[in-house]
């Protein structure tokens, strides 16, 4: 069921290894994400979740294995090429240009100003508060508003696949609900595929169709979201 050659896979990883310098973080990892599904990747800190997203996006080089997007190898593709081909990314680390305005942060996500207004209208549909605050510096937004801006920026080009890194970290339940609503809307209205790296179990199980737990760079468990998922995942996340 998680074979990398699975029919209809939007993203498939087969035996992927990567890391930094001499340190291996991701080890022989295989994973397949279907078109139009939300897939939650969970795990404790330091297990390689962020590194995996960076490897998919080409920010960290894969040392071994294959990464296929719509059946095409993207192992040697640059982030620029992948963003252009329909991938969106909402990072966790230093995710905003805090000294730039909200408008400029969003503007950087589109290749040309000609498409800016249409893209802005798309994200205003999810997060209307941005419309009246475009001139405000991103660094002056509250934590929750910043997270919504990060997600908005990833949605600007209406990507087919979005990689989202711990978007719910430190957020109030009301903000998490807004983000969950936006993600479900993208999935249902546009058939967007979402790879969600999360530590917030409630949020992940609310939105995800399937899940996997990462442990020391390898998939430790995986499954379809159902009544037994919570217990299984908690078992893996115990300290």
């Amino acid at each position: 069921m998680f074979d990398s050659a699975e029919t209809g896979a939007k993203l498939a990883l087969d035996g992927v290894s990567s890391g930094y310098g001499t340190i291996a973080i991701i080890r022989d990892l295989s994973l397949s994400i279907r078109k139009g599904e939300i897939f939650a990747l969970m795990g404790k800190n330091g297990m390689g979740k962020t590194t995996l997203l960076k490897t998919i996006l080409g920010l960290v080089s894969a040392r071994a294995g294959h990464i296929l997007l719509d059946g095409r190898s993207i192992v040697s593709a640059s982030p620029k090429d992948l963003i252009k081909s329909g991938m969106g990314y909402a990072p966790q680390e230093q995710p905003l240009f805090t000294d730039l305005s909200i408008r400029d942060n969003l503007r950087l996500a589109v290749p040309s100003d000609r498409t800016l207004e249409a893209a802005l209208e798309h994200v205003f549909g999810h997060f209307p508060f941005l419309r009246d605050r475009l001139g405000q510096k991103a660094g002056t937004l509250s934590g929750g508003e910043q997270k919504m801006l990060i997600l908005s920026r990833a949605l600007m080009l209406k990507p087919d696949l979005i990689l989202i890194d711990e978007i719910s970290e430190g957020l109030q339940p009301t903000v998490i609900a807004q983000i969950a609503k936006a993600l479900k809307a993208e999935q249902s209205e546009r058939g967007t595929t979402i790879l969600l790296v999360e530590q917030n179990l409630n949020f992940a199980l609310e939105v995800a169709d399937r899940w996997a737990v990462l442990k020391l760079g390898e998939i430790d468990d995986r499954g379809v979201t159902d009544a037994s998922s919570r217990e299984r995942i908690l078992e893996h996340l115990k300290i």
């Binding site: 982030p79 992948l82 730039l100 400029d104 950087l108 920026r153």
Partner: protein, 311 residues
């Protein structure tokens, strides 16, 4: 060797390079009035700004100190020599220098600087060496002799009761155009927005799909083009020889270190230090005036490592 058709020196005294920053104040036979002193201060600041702008453009975005900066100034000045030698309109030297500087800068970025972005100290050595090579190539082609160029503008203009060098007033306007042009480029264009994003957070810029290599290349080309342009603008003020840029390098370097990555801070640094240079040169000694910028920059950086960058 190319000798310009009109090789007469300009109406202003061609200043000899000092130990750090050539003293580019006007030399008069009578005591300066308050107005001429004020004009000397602002026009000297303008000239320092013109000379340092290209270095700041590269340092601000790429965080690389281009120690070939003096060589690019010299390349620009020799574009004026070539233009004069071919009997062309001397103003054509400005676009010629910008294009020449930008093209050579592009080749330099691609072959020499790009592999060294993560090794800034090595980049300093590499660009320093490149500066020596360019200087030697110019010597090989044009010889060591001092060259003279046709004046871009000559004569004086009446400014608030003072007769003042028209060219220096033009230099003031040129500095304003360069400063405003660069401000527009950075604040009003996508290239500028992308460059600012790279300055703030390059990994994030890459993750958003920005072509950081292309933006670095274009920025380097603009910086070297701007520096070569400055070389042309210097020709009415200083003699042209293969080592002319060296005298300007240290002063430009000090001003950029004080200014950080801000053109506004660079303008203020040029005004404060250029003003001090004029006052010291006028009332104490032109020799001491030549080291004023370097000494004051060192003092400011000693007090605050960020210099005027917070301005």
């Amino acid at each position: 060797m190319l000798i310009p058709a009109n090789s007469a020196p300009s109406s202003e005294l061609k200043a000899r390079p000092g130990p750090f920053v050539p003293a580019v104040i006007s030399i008069r036979n009578r005591e300066p009035t308050a107005m001429t002193l004020l004009l000397d201060i602002v026009t000297t600041a303008a000239i320092l700004f013109i000379v340092s702008a290209g270095l700041l453009a590269i340092f601000g975005v790429l965080e690389i100190v281009n120690f070939a900066h003096g060589a690019w100034l010299t390349v620009g000045a020799y574009c004026a020599v070539v233009t004069g030698g071919l009997g062309l309109n001397p103003w054509l030297a400005l676009p010629l220098a910008f294009v020449t500087g930008a093209v050579l800068g592009g080749v330099t970025e691609r072959l020499i600087v790009r592999p060294l972005y993560a090794r800034p100290l090595d980049a300093i050595l590499a660009t320093w060496g490149l500066g020596i090579v360019i200087g030697q190539l110019i010597t090989l082609w044009f010889g060591r002799d001092v060259q003279f160029t046709e004046n871009l503008l000559s004569g004086t203009i009446h400014v608030f009761g003072a007769n003042y060098s028209l060219y220096r007033i033009f230099a003031l306007a040129a500095a304003a155009v360069i400063g405003l042009g660069f401000a527009f480029l950075m604040e009003g264009t996508r290239l500028g927005l992308s460059a600012r994003a790279i300055i703030m957070n390059e990994p994030l810029a890459r993750a958003l799909g920005l072509d950081t290599s292309k933006i670095r290349l274009v920025t380097f080309m603009i910086g070297t083009g701007l520096t070569a342009l400055a070389g042309v603008l210097l020709t009415p003020l200083t003699s042209v020889d293969p080592t002319m840029g060296v005298a300007w390098l240290i002063g430009s370097f000090m001003l950029v270190m004080v200014a950080g990555s801000s053109f506004g801070a660079l303008a203020i640094a040029c005004l404060v230090f250029g003003g001090a240079q004029v006052l010291v040169s006028t009332f104490i000694s032109p020799i001491l005036g030549g080291i004023t910028v370097a000494v004051l920059s060192a003092l400011v950086l000693r007090i605050s490592s960020k210099g005027f960058a917070r301005v």
